[in-house]
């Protein structure tokens, strides 16, 4: 299935890479880059949310978070290869991603309990170094299992099927579904944070843990839940990445971790709406940068934005508190 559409996919990829190709009109390019930016931005936003929630609640820049995304991608891949024997269509893929989401929530929770919790009262630097260690453990585990190779993913989902607007531009059903899923997840999370007692407790804990304890809130349970939610969101992003890009690699979490961190800083680290807006904005800015400067400068461009933000607006768009120096 995927094989048949390879040539078309390449053409498509050509458009996506920003095509220094005069075949496309300015309008087509802008439209295509907008889609690219939103897709990439959805990945960034979903990962940035976990970054920001964890930072908000325990002031940890969780360097292992990008690797949860990678683990989520890997588990989705493995789960699908098991499920595919009886269901290889959309249902199988969705089941695989859900399995990955649940497993990653459990992994995120366990990491928090085993690696981070004993250090909550230690200097922040110990926690930060531990997070780097956890990141290496996750990467190396998957590296050993996969022999450090790229794993290729084939599902019955056709990334070419979709809505076309004219000859050269279009949006696939998969892309529409991914954006919808991201939007729905953001809405659910926003409602959870603003309407439920646990969501309110989560926000309150980020400002004053002891006051929360005095309200009868089991602070360590809420911290555990925060890690579970953040990890589940990263796993969904990872699962979607497998389906969309068709491959898994043990190092794939590194760059997106950095990008999601950038997105969280743009939005104001610790802020949930900030992570959403920051992620989408970074995706769009990168797409614009790719188009204007060239895709080989994409990462330089993104980290340039990070540096500029840290210098000129370290509190980000929605952030209030100043960032502590590590």
């Amino acid at each position: 299935m995927l094989h048949n559409s390879m040539t078309e996919k390449q053409l498509y990829a050509n458009i996506k890479s920003g095509g220094e190709n005069s075949l496309f009109t300015t309008y087509e390019i802008i439209f295509q880059q907008l889609i690219n930016g939103l897709i990439q931005g959805s990945f960034y936003a979903l990962v940035a949310l976990g970054f920001s929630m964890v930072y908000g609640i325990i002031k940890l820049i969780n360097f292992a978070h990008g690797d949860i995304y990678m683990t989520g991608a890997f588990i989705s891949f493995v789960a699908f290869s098991i499920i595919a024997s009886f269901s290889e269509g959309v249902v199988g893929v969705v089941l695989a991603v859900i399995a990955s989401m649940l497993l990653c929530a459990a992994i995120g929770f366990s990491i928090q309990r085993i690696a981070y919790k004993p250090l909550f009262d230690a200097p922040r630097l110990s926690l930060l170094i531990t997070a780097v260690g956890v990141s290496l453990i996750l990467q190396n585990t998957v590296m050993v299992i996969t022999n450090g190779q790229f794993m290729f993913f084939h599902s019955a989902i056709d990334n070419m099927a979709g809505v076309r607007f004219g000859e050269n531009i279009g949006i696939s059903f998969l892309e529409i579904a991914m954006m919808l899923i991201t939007a729905v997840l953001m809405i659910i999370l926003t409602l959870f944070i603003s309407k439920t007692m646990w969501g309110k407790a989560m926000r309150a804990i980020s400002t004053d843990k002891d006051a929360c304890r005095l309200m009868g809130i089991n602070v360590s349970k809420v911290i555990g839940l925060t890690f579970m939610i953040g990890s589940a969101l990263a796993a969904i992003a990872g699962g979607m990445a497998v389906i969309y890009y068709g491959q898994v690699h043990f190092f794939m979490g590194y760059i997106i971790g950095m990008k999601a961190f950038t997105a969280a800083v743009i939005g104001g680290i610790g802020s949930i709406p900030g992570a959403m807006v920051g992620g989408l904005l970074l995706g769009l800015l990168e797409a614009a940068g790719t188009q204007l400067i060239g895709s080989e400068w994409k990462d330089v461009f993104a980290f340039g934005i990070l540096i500029a933000m840290l210098i000129f607006r370290p509190n980000g768009i929605f952030g209030k508190t100043t960032i502590e120096r590590m």
């Binding site: 002891d210 304890r213 005095l214 309200m215 809130i217």
Partner: protein, 241 residues
């Protein structure tokens, strides 16, 4: 005193190696306002933090309604009805007044009951009702103190521990706070009141203890302590009205 509901025996607490409480004992009865007085650094806040489980006791015993709660976590102690209003009010500045109140009843599952309690708080403090959508941080000091008390009442306390409710409050408003405390007591809530403002506290309390560097050095009926010149001179400084 009707029934002893809080009994503190030989309580000790440390910050690292430094002792902050050097074996203190006292009691609160079900119909009482008991005050714990002492100058800055005497160990008043440490006493409340150790009782409510924010800090762990290094020795001694805390009994609440007959149950040994010395080793329990704060959130478990809250479930038993002991509500500690910490020093400096500690309201959630980024949450609305209403959300602050809701969190006060975190352990309550029944949303209808939560709504009823919020209404009670608004009846008691109409200012909070008018400002329910505002962020906690935008309230004045006096209003924040009302919010802190209201948030505590959301848990239907069986005992209120109040840490310096008059701190940083304009003298005029201190009278309001006194009246609130008197009213809560009249309605049947026992209160353990920690204060540096001895004049205010002794005016309210049935019984008082004076704390100095982690030890209880004096105790007596509120009315006796208030007339005892040694108290005000030696341990309390001059109460700031």
């Amino acid at each position: 005193m009707a029934e002893v509901i809080l009994k503190v025996e030989n309580l000790q607490a440390h910050y690292g190696k430094i002792a902050a409480l050097d074996g203190i004992s006292f009691e609160v009865g079900s119909d009482q306002i008991v005050t714990l007085l002492g100058s800055n650094g005497a160990g008043k806040s440490t006493t409340l933090k150790t009782i409510s489980g924010l800090m762990s006791a290094s020795a001694g015993k805390v009994t609440f309604f007959g149950e040994d709660i010395t080793k329990l976590h704060s959130h478990e102690i809250v479930q038993r009805g002991m509500i500690h209003l910490p020093e400096g009010r500690r309201i959630f500045k980024d949450l609305t007044v209403l959300e602050n109140l809701e969190l006060g009843s975190f352990t309550l599952k029944d949303d209808a009951e939560r709504k009823r309690r919020i209404k009670d708080v608004f009846d008691r403090f109409p200012r909070l009702g008018e400002r329910q959508k505002q962020l906690g941080g935008t309230l004045s000091g006096g209003e924040q103190q009302m919010l802190a008390i209201g948030r505590g009442l959301m848990a239907k306390p069986k005992l209120l521990l109040m840490d310096e409710p008059s701190m940083g409050i304009a003298p005029l408003i201190v009278k309001d706070i006194s009246n609130i405390i008197r009213k809560l007591h009249a309605e049947g809530t026992p209160i353990l009141l920690v204060e540096q403002n001895s004049k205010m506290a002794l005016g309210l309390a049935d019984y008082g203890y004076v704390l100095d560097t982690g030890k209880i050095v004096l105790e007596g009926k509120g009315s006796d302590l208030i007339n005892d010149e040694n108290v005000t001179k030696a341990y309390l400084g001059v109460g700031e009205s």
